[in-house]
Amino acid sequence: MDQAINIDIGTSGIRAQLLNLTDSSVLRTAILSRNPLPGANVVDHMDFAISYGQGIAHEILISAINSLVSNLKPENLRRIAVCGNPIQLSLFEGIEIRDLAFAGKNALEKIHVKPLERNGHIVSGNEIGLYADVDVIIPPSVRHEIGADALAMMIKSGFLDTPETCMVTDYGTNAEMALRVGDRIYTGSAAAGPVIEGQQISKGMLATPGAIADLKLSGGWQALVLDEKLRLVEGPRIDLRNRTFKATGYPTKGITGTGVIALMYAGLVTGIIKPPHIEGGIIRLGKGITFTEEDVIEAGKAFGALRAGQLTLMHEAGIAYEDLETMYICGASGTYVDPLKARFTGIVPATPKRIIQCGNTSLELAKDLALDPDYLSYLNEMKKSVLSNHVMFASSPTFEAIYVQEIALWNEGMPLEKYNSNLERSGIQPVPQKYHEVIIEKKSETDIHELGKSLEIVESKYGFTATIQCSGCDTCVKECPEEALSRESESFKINNERCLGTACRRCEERCPEKRFSISDFKLELPESIEIGQ
């Protein structure tokens, strides 16, 4: 039986599937629940690559993918197809990334780097360091902030298949979005940040067991927590008004992006959260798990970027908000979020008549390519048409005018009436305060549509090690916010998956003896690829 593998290289994790080419079915799925590169976001990943050498970054990523591939135990493997944002795909392929690492042409001219084309193409596995020497299909990137993952979002959601005015958004760190009006497609990327994925929040975490992912009302607020099979089960009961909780149900560790959306919703409807403040200062969700005013501000910055982006696209396309018929919401958060709560916080527009939740489209596009590599030429054609109406939010006065209102709304408590009158003053339609009746459809219950016979969660086992002669005060170890650093007498080890990378460096900065230097750490690859649970 001929087989192929499709891989979604995401900033917060990598998903791979083994496909049966004879009947196009999924045989097995393996995922790495974190991206192996140090850093909390793509820019950190690039910064790591630039500071430590792109070769090392490429090696880490490729080893992780090699271990995923061997975990899938392919036989008669014919090809591998990948999908992801331009940065992850370039790190994977081992090509230039500096044009993606710096925005603005002055910096690029100074270092003599021209932006690459990044059209869709095929390379051989060996060439890029994979053990499997098969064709590797790499889809095109439209621009540096609109990648193959954004094409996937448009193609696999159904956004391109209806004649009506519709919008699609990937509820992830980069917040790619597109609006379709007749034949024209307007695209943009609002770079909302990782809040929607549960990062950047004091007790935020990815969607793993013990994470609060939703809240429901049943005689008070009831937290819904992911159990070990990632099903939503009842967790603690939360008394928002009295700032207490009852530790019943599944034990909690933190809160995911969709949990943040649900909590912000609950806080806003009850009036406990009046941005940027929380009545009483904090919300207690569990033992040692609190939601703070800083978190409200972080959530506001991300929510604001999403709405500012969506309103900018509708403004540029010259449509009334009421014209929007359907909204497609994608990404893991788009799959698991309660759309009505999301709409209340402003990150889903108020006006569409249908909201469709779509799951992980990037993995699905990689699957299409793995099944039919000729599809690549269609994607390259599509790239051209998408480019013509791309809206660069970085140089859009409309985006800036709206985002400034969002900052005031969330961070300074400006009333919505003022928000709206300021928008009108800038010639932008005010946001509707009434919601439409809406039909909600779910394309798939889980973000991965089809898991096949088994799902394995793989952990990459290698790290960075160094020998440091010092007093062993352990300040560095204690200061690490991610518990990524460990010490055994003079040998120190950093778990690269957990480490926040160059954006953090707390271990180095806080060493009282100035002995700790990240540059002394060397990558330690395992002798043979180890495969975890």
Partner: protein, 275 residues
């Protein structure tokens, strides 16, 4: 009695700033009413805003109109009024100091009280610049607390925070030369020399670009012009890894830093006094 209430109002406003949540709760519990100061009453709240406006109001009614145009963020009107007054032979320096600045100061004070918001400061700032530029054409330099060059460092285009910082510095009487975003270290150094600035404010929101601020601060060391560094990608620990720099988190920190540096303090002294 009147004095007594004044003191109470003052205390209440202190609380509003420092403990907003408690403040709101107190209102709900009716304690304010017990004190005889019903702050929930819209009219009285207007009085406070009006009081600020009144305090800053220029005596000359023609100047008042200019100040009000700035407060309203009406750039076209501000420019119109300034042109007319300059035409009438008013002294440009006097216009800046006593008509335009009181306008922006009002907005800033209202902002500090939570009675006005960032979008309004930005609009008022645009109006102010419109008027100041006209006056500058006549006299060259306008009197200021000091000269600050503001920029977003090379490789980064996130300029909303920088715009807010520049506006608030201007509102506090500093002359700001806003270079824009994606500014190379070389271009920044040239601008600092050309303008004879006292201080640079550098912003960055990306991990890949924060090194640029370090380079800039180190090069400007020989010019004796420190770099105030801010933006979400950095923190105090990072900024403390290099000299000739001071870290700030908020636009208000930028004002505090500028005040120290323009009063002749060194970056080391500024750090010591502000951290």
């Amino acid at each position: 009695m009147i004095r007594h209430i004044d003191v109470a109002v003052q205390k209440i406003f202190e609380m509003k700033e420092k403990e907003p949540a408690k403040f709101k709760r107190l209102i709900e519990e009716g304690i304010m009413i017990g004190l005889g100061v019903d702050l929930g009453d819209r009219n009285k709240q207007m009085t406070v805003a009006d009081q600020i406006k009144k305090q800053n109001k220029p005596k000359d009614p023609e100047y008042t109109a200019v100040a009000e145009a700035v407060i309203a963020g009406d750039r076209a009107e501000t420019i119109n009024l300034t042109v007319t007054l300059l035409g009438k032979g008013k002294d440009p320096t006097d216009l800046v100091l006593n008509a335009l600045m009181p306008g922006i100061q009002t907005v800033c004070e209202l902002y500090d009280m939570g009675e006005s918001y960032v979008p309004e400061i930005l609009l008022a700032n645009e109006a102010l610049i419109g008027g100041v530029e006209l006056c500058q054409e006549r006299i060259g330099e306008v009197p200021s607390q000091g000269k600050v060059v503001s920029l977003v460092i090379e490789g980064d285009v996130h300029d909303i925070g920088k715009n807010i910082v520049a506006a608030i510095l201007r509102a506090n009487g500093f002359e700001v030369v806003d270079l824009g975003r994606d500014i190379t270290v070389e271009a920044a150094v040239r601008a600092v020399k050309a303008t004879n600035a006292d201080l640079v404010t550098g912003t960055t929101l990306m991990s890949t670009t924060k090194g640029g601020l370090k380079d800039l601060a180190e090069i400007l060391d020989s010019e004796d012009v420190p770099v105030a560094c801010g933006g979400a990608a950095i923190d105090r620990h990072f900024v403390d890894t290099f000299g000739n720099s001071i870290y700030g988190k908020t636009p208000l920190d930028a004002v505090k830093i500028a005040k120290k540096i323009c009063a002749g303090k060194s970056w080391k002294e500024a750090r010591k006094e502000l951290y």
